[in-house]
C-alpha cells in the first residue's frame, strides 16, 4: 500500500535578548560554566521572577510575521517535572492562554506555494545544560551548567500540515529566515538557537484520518530533523507494510547512530500538572502595543523578493538568493544606491561575494569590500575602463586590502587599452611571430582565433579590450 507522511513540528527558538526572561543574568553564549546565575534562575526559594518586556515584544514580532491572532490577555503556567537541568522542578511556560494562535507561513517547493498552519506561539524559559563529559571520569553523574537556564524561548507549534520530509525541511528553514529578518533569533544552530520536536505519522494515501503518531524529541540541528524524519518514515512504513501497527510513543534521536529509540515512559510521563504561575501577573497586549511593533517590523523575505523582481527587474532566482539573508539583501540594495546595473551587481553578489563571505566566515558588515566599492567596480566594467577579466583581479585585491577599485586599477596600471592603434600594433606583432598559425587560419582553421586573442591578451597583460581585439584580428586575418 502507498502511505502518505504527515508531519507536525514544534520549534523552540531562543530569543536574542541581552538578559534572561525573568532575571537580569546575561544570555551571552560561551561563558564559563555557571557564570550566569542568580537566585531567580537558580530557583532559590522566595525569589520573584519579573518578565523581560523585550522577550514579549520579540514574540509579538513573530506572531505578526506569521499572521497569528495575538491574545489580548495571556498568562504563564508552571509545567512541573523533575529533571536535573531544571533547578526549580518546573518550567515557566504558557499553557491554556498562549500569546498567539492561528497563523501560517508559506513555503515554496518546485515553484509551488504551500501554507503551513501555525497552531500557537508561546513564551517560555529554557532549561540549563547537562554535560556528559568523558574527561570528568564520571560514570554515574552528569554535569550541570545554569547559564542557559532562563534564556527566553518561543515555542512555535505547527499544524500537522507537512506531507514530506522536504516540506518539513523548508518549513524549518523558512522559520529561521523569518526570525533572522525580525532580529529575534541568531539562527546559530551550533549554539542551540533552534531546537525541534517532530510528530510523525503515516496513513494510507487518500485517507483523511490521521494515523497513530510518534513524537521524536532532542533534535538539535536541521540535519537531525531530516535524518530522524527519514528514519521514522522508513521505520513506520516497514511496520505497516508488515501488517503491524504503530505504537504511540515518545522517541529520542541518537545523533551518532542515526536511529530513533523509545524513551523510557517513566521519565517522560506526560503529566505535567500545569497550573497558573502565581509569581507572574497576566500580560495584556493592547492594540497600541501591537501597532507600535507592527510599524517597526522590517520588510519580510517574501515581500522583499517580490519587490526585488519588480523594482530591479532581476530574475526570480536572483531575488530568491539575494533575499535569503537580510544582511545580503541589505548589502545588495546599498550597492544599488550608488547607481549600478542591478543584474550585474546581482551576479557579483551571488557569485564572488557570497563565495568569499563563506570562505572567510564573515558577515557582509565585516567584509572588506563595501557595497559602495562593489558598485564602483561594476561601473568600471560597464563604462569600459577595465575588462570583466581584469575586474576579477581587482576584486581579489579589494578582498585582500579593502582598497578602492579605481585606485587599484590606477596604481596597478590595469586600465583597459581601448586605443585601436595600440591594439593594432600588438596584433601585428602576434601575427608576424606566428606565421604558421596565420597560414592555417587562412586555410580554414578559424578556431585558431581564440589562440590569437590569447596571445594578444598575454602581451597586454589582459588589459586590451576583448571586443576590439576580436574585431581587429578578424580584419587583419580576413
Amino acid at each position: 500500500m502507498d502511505y502518505e507522511t504527515v508531519i507536525g513540528l514544534e520549534v523552540h527558538a531562543q530569543l536574542a535578548t541581552r538578559s534572561k526572561i525573568f532575571c537580569g543574568c546575561s544570555t551571552q553564549f560561551g561563558e564559563e560554566p555557571n557564570a550566569q546565575g542568580c537566585p531567580v534562575c537558580l530557583g532559590m526559594p522566595g525569589v520573584l521572577p519579573v518578565l523581560n518586556r523585550m522577550a514579549v515584544e520579540f514574540a509579538i514580532r513573530m506572531a505578526l510575521a506569521t499572521g497569528c491572532e495575538i491574545a489580548s490577555r495571556c498568562r504563564f503556567a508552571r509545567k512541573n517535572y523533575f529533571y536535573p537541568d531544571l533547578p526549580k522542578g518546573y518550567q515557566i511556560s504558557q499553557y491554556e492562554e498562549p500569546l498567539a494562535t492561528g497563523g501560517h507561513i508559506v513555503i515554496e517547493m518546485d515553484g509551488k506555494k504551500k501554507r503551513i498552519g501555525i497552531t500557537r506561539i508561546h513564551l517560555e524559559e529554557d532549561a540549563g545544560k547537562l554535560v556528559h563529559s568523558e574527561d570528568s571520569g564520571l560514570t554515574d553523574e552528569s554535569l550541570f551548567d545554569v547559564n542557559r537556564c532562563g534564556v527566553p524561548l518561543i515555542e512555535i507549534v505547527s499544524e500537522p500540515d507537512m506531507r514530506s520530509v522536504e516540506e518539513a525541511r523548508l518549513y524549518c528553514l523558512k522559520l529561521r529566515q523569518i526570525m533572522r529578518y525580525l532580529g529575534i533569533n541568531s539562527g546559530d544552530m551550533e549554539k542551540g538557537a533552534m531546537r525541534f520536536e517532530a510528530n510523525v505519522s503515516l496513513r494510507p494515501r487518500g485517507s483523511t484520518r490521521y494515523g497513530t503518531r510518534v513524537e521524536v524529541k532532542n533534535l538539535n540541528s536541521f540535519r537531525a530533523v531530516l535524518r530522524s524524519l527519514e528514519y521514522e518514515v522508513q521505520r513506520q512504513t516497514k511496520i505497516l507494510q508488515g501488517g503491524g501497527s504503530i505504537q504511540q510513543e515518545t522517541m529520542g534521536w541518537d545523533d551518532v547512530r542515526e536511529v530513533t529509540f523509545p524513551q523510557r515512559g517513566k521519565e517522560y510521563a506526560h503529566d505535567y500538572r500545569y497550573f497558573p504561575e502565581p509569581d507572574l501577573v497576566p500580560v495584556d497586549i493592547d492594540r497600541k502595543w501591537i501597532e507600535k511593533v507592527k510599524s517597526e517590523l522590517p520588510e519580510l523575505p517574501t515581500a522583499r523578493k517580490r519587490r526585488f523582481i519588480s523594482q530591479y527587474g532581476i530574475p526570480a532566482y536572483d531575488a530568491e538568493v539575494l533575499t535569503t539573508e537580510r544582511e545580503i539583501a541589505d548589502y545588495y540594495e546599498e550597492a544599488l544606491q550608488v547607481g549600478a546595473d542591478p543584474k550585474a551587481v546581482s551576479n557579483w553578489v551571488m557569485g564572488d561575494v557570497l563565495r568569499e563571505l563563506k570562505a572567510r566566515g564573515v558577515s557582509p558588515a565585516e567584509f572588506n569590500i563595501s557595497p559602495k566599492h562593489l558598485a564602483e567596480l561594476v561601473n568600471l566594467v560597464s563604462d569600459g575602463t577595465i575588462s570583466g577579466k581584469i575586474a576579477k583581479t581587482v576584486f581579489e585585491e579589494m578582498v585582500k586590502t579593502g582598497g578602492h577599485p579605481r585606485e587599484i586599477v590606477e596604481v596597478k596600471g590595469l586600465i583597459q587599452i581601448t586605443d585601436t592603434g595600440a591594439i593594432e600594433q600588438v596584433v601585428e606583432e602576434v601575427l608576424s611571430e606566428n606565421p604558421e598559425e596565420v597560414e592555417r587560419y587562412r586555410g580554414g582553421k578559424t578556431k585558431l582565433l581564440g589562440f590569437f586573442v590569447g596571445e594578444v591578451m598575454k602581451k597586454t597583460k589582459g588589459k586590451a579590450n576583448p571586443r576590439l581585439v576580436n574585431e581587429i584580428l578578424r580584419n587583419k586575418l580576413g
Binding site: 546575561s26 546565575g37 537558580l42 550541570f144
Partner: protein, 95 residues
Amino acid sequence: MPVTLKDVENIAMLAKLRFTQEEKERLISQLSRILSYFEKLNELDTTDVEPTSHVLPIKNVFRDDVVTGSLPRDQILANAPDQWMGYFKVPKVIE
C-alpha cells in the same frame, strides 16, 4: 472524590517521593479529605466569576532588557552537594 492507592502512588512517583504502605494509607485519607473540601467549594455558583490566577489586580509588570549581573561562581555553587570543574554534579539521567 475517593482517592485510590493508585492515585497516591502516581503522585508520589511524579514528585519523586517514596512512602511506606502505612504512609500511603494515611495519604489516601488525607488527600480524600482535601478533595472533598474542594467538592464543597464546588457547590458555589461561579458562573460569572473569572478564575483567579493571581491574587492582586495588577497586570503587565515588566523589566527592561538590561543585564544586571550574576552571582559570583563560588556563590552559585555554594549549595551544590558536589561539583566538578565549576559544574554541579547531578545524578546521571539515562536516556
